[in-house]
């Protein structure tokens, strides 16, 4: 069985596993792991690459046709800084796709909802395909949808924490009411977390740390690939659920007899 492809802003993705490029021990290992993951959307921090160097180590290892680069604005603290960074990224990497990340808090790197909404609105007007990284806030997701983002990327738990889907209840609400794809980003630490997000109906997951810092990143990348596919397949096949029959002591519908 083939699962349904994912379409974001008119672009079709066969793989629903999005990956990051940070924290690998070498660019060569990153390349090997990302190829093993089957990922087609790879986020890269503008701050990590030297856009003036055509032979930049990271970019050089990402030069495969299946990789669609998603520059991110990691490091900016305000909407103004994000818009500036986005314009730089567009010019340097020749893509109008952008993972919008604004985290003024250097400790937990939690996203700023106010600045993110402000920046998203402006960036959409400037022609960017905006994928904002946000807290799992259902109302914020609707507000972002209204300003025209291409997807929302709520966090499962604090970035890099590997704690999994601590925001599960809110992710369920977001998935239930979203009109744009929902990509669970941040906190996914194990393939089982990724599978659980996909079983819930998330459109994709983004994984970085859990692959990059694994004992064997290439094997872990493959494990995530399988988990995402299994989770999606289970979602599309409609999961069986536990049955809890209510016991009728005094039937509510007896008046119909």
């Amino acid at each position: 069985m083939k699962t349904q492809p994912l379409i974001i802003a008119g672009r079709t993705f066969t793989s629903r596993l999005f990956t990051g490029t940070g924290k690998f021990s070498s660019a060569a290992l990153m390349e090997e792991a990302l190829l093993a993951s089957g990922s087609e959307l790879v986020t890269v921090a503008l701050k990590r690459v030297d856009v003036s160097d055509t032979n930049d180590d990271i970019l050089r290892h990402l030069g495969h046709p299946q990789f669609h680069l998603l520059p991110n604005t990691s490091g900016v603290r305000t909407a103004k800084e994000a818009v500036f960074a986005a314009q730089l990224a567009r010019e340097a990497l020749e893509t109008n796709w952008l993972k919008l990340e604004i985290h003024p808090d250097p400790k937990y790197l939690l996203p700023d909802p106010v600045e993110t909404l402000k920046a998203a609105e402006e960036l959409v007007k400037l022609g960017f395909v905006v994928l904002p990284y946000i807290h799992a806030d259902p109302v914020l997701c609707k507000r972002l949808e209204e300003v025209g983002v291409a997807a929302v990327m709520p966090l499962g738990s604090p970035i890099g924490s590997n704690k999994g889907l601590l925001t599960r209840d809110f992710l369920e609400i977001i998935i239930g009411q979203s009109k744009v794809p929902v990509v669970v980003d941040a906190g996914i630490g194990a393939p089982s977390h990724a599978a659980a997000a996909m079983e819930m109906g998330a459109d994709a997951v983004l994984v970085n740390t859990a692959i990059a810092v694994a004992g064997q990143p290439v094997h872990m990348a493959q494990a995530f690939q399988m988990a995402v596919e299994a989770g999606r397949m289970a979602y599309e096949a409609r999961l069986a659920v536990p049955v809890a029959h209510a016991e009728a002591s005094s039937p509510l519908t007896a008046f119909l007899d």
Binding site: R238, A240, V243, F255
Partner: protein, 373 residues
């Protein structure tokens, strides 16, 4: 963007066939699912769900209590006019019905309002036929201004209006608009509405979108049971609600379940919907959507209404008159349809209390709405 492309992507016959093909396993899965989908809803309204009705009722009761507590809201219709330029095969106000037409003046509206106020009502539903010359947006705006100081919440069930007209009425005090599609069966819709502006199926279908864009606080949806297959029509209502909730996410929604009632000069229902089937539908909607308000009118019998409030209903009308001036001005004028529950609001409130629920007369405040002009 509007609901129309979604509507057009669903073929009536295919939807109907898929509902009737649902099995007991589909129903059991739907009952057990933590979040129910529109496919689950199909299973719950299907004939396969009939043996599970008691279980559905229990779940519906639990979910309703979780969200709404042990309360039932009270509202009352206030008919402003029975003038109408439409021919509807099921309605007493139909243009081809030779009845005496009447439209209340501002003074008469206030006389009516006094009675409703004395009964304790704060939520009033204004109803008219469709006669744009006499009961157009100017008249409606004036009526809202007249009533605004006296009631906490004003709803309206009148002809569909343009977006700009809704934008004009909302600041005048309009909180809620009810607009029923009557039936989502496009071909049969034409048969039931052969003449008048109402015969434009798409204008009616697009009305919730216009309301959403205008920023209405709450809107009510529904179909008229008796015109077409109730299961298929109810699925389309659920589909419409699902789209609206995702799109106009700051708006509240309610659903109503009018079954065709006898009225002057109208046809017999094409489809009979039994009490059991109506209970199944109400419970299915609750199982699909924990937040939506579910409303029942005096079209239903006292026995049915007494029992249904425990199964998912959150608002109920009482003491209703369906003729303009029916409360004080002209109690004997011709009504839109016959009601089935003649009990007074006080008696209904007592019944609600005896069932272990609190009758809620006021659940809104003008301070929460845009400031009146």
């Amino acid at each position: 963007m509007s609901f129309r492309p979604i509507f057009e992507a669903h073929n009536w016959d295919d939807v109907k066939a898929s509902i009737y093909a649902k099995t007991a396993a589909d129903v059991e899965r739907a009952l057990a699912a933590p979040r129910r989908t529109l496919e689950d809803f199909k299973a719950l309204i299907s004939p396969a769900a009939v043996p599970y009705l008691e279980q559905m009722a229990r779940l519906s009761q639990q979910l309703t209590r979780k969200r709404f507590g042990n309360t039932v809201q009270l509202y009352v219709p206030l008919y402003l006019s029975n003038e109408c330029q439409n021919i509807c095969t099921y309605c007493g106000f139909s243009l081809d019905n030779k009845i005496r037409r009447r439209t209340l003046s501002s003074v008469e509206i206030l006389q009516e309002a006094q009675v409703l106020k004395a009964w304790g009502y704060e939520h009033v539903l204004l109803v008219t036929g469709e006669a744009n010359q006499t009961v157009g947006v100017d008249y409606l705006e004036k009526a809202l201004h007249t009533l605004r100081p006296h009631f906490a919440h004003l709803s309206m069930e009148v002809q569909p209006l343009d977006e700009e007209e809704y934008e004009r009425l909302i600041p005048a005090g309009l909180n809620t608009v009810l607009v029923y599609q009557e039936t989502y069966h496009q071909q049969d819709y034409k048969k039931h509405h052969p003449k008048g502006k109402k015969s434009n199926f798409h204008y009616r279908l697009d009305t919730p979108d216009r309301l959403g864009r205008a920023g209405i606080h709450k809107m009510g949806l529904g179909v008229l049971f008796g015109l077409e297959d109730w299961r298929t029509d109810s699925f389309y209502t659920a589909l419409h609600l699902d789209y609206l909730e995702r799109t106009y996410w700051q708006t509240k929604y309610s659903l109503s379940f009018p079954r065709l009632r006898p009225a002057e000069g109208l046809l017999q229902p094409k489809v009979e919907m039994s009490d059991r089937e109506l209970v199944q539908l109400i419970c299915a909607y609750r199982l699909l959507n924990e937040e939506v308000e579910l409303s029942i009118s005096t079209r239903e019998t006292p026995t049915f209404r007494d029992n249904i409030i425990r199964l998912g209903i959150t608002s109920i009308s009482a003491g209703s008159k369906t003729n303009p001036g029916g409360y004080a001005v002209a109690p004997e004028s011709l009504e839109q349809f016959e009601i089935s529950d003649e009990r007074t609001p006080k008696e209904i409130a007592g019944m609600i209390r005896r069932q272990g629920y609190e009758p809620v007369w006021k659940d809104w405040d003008t301070a929460l709405a845009p400031a009146p002009i």
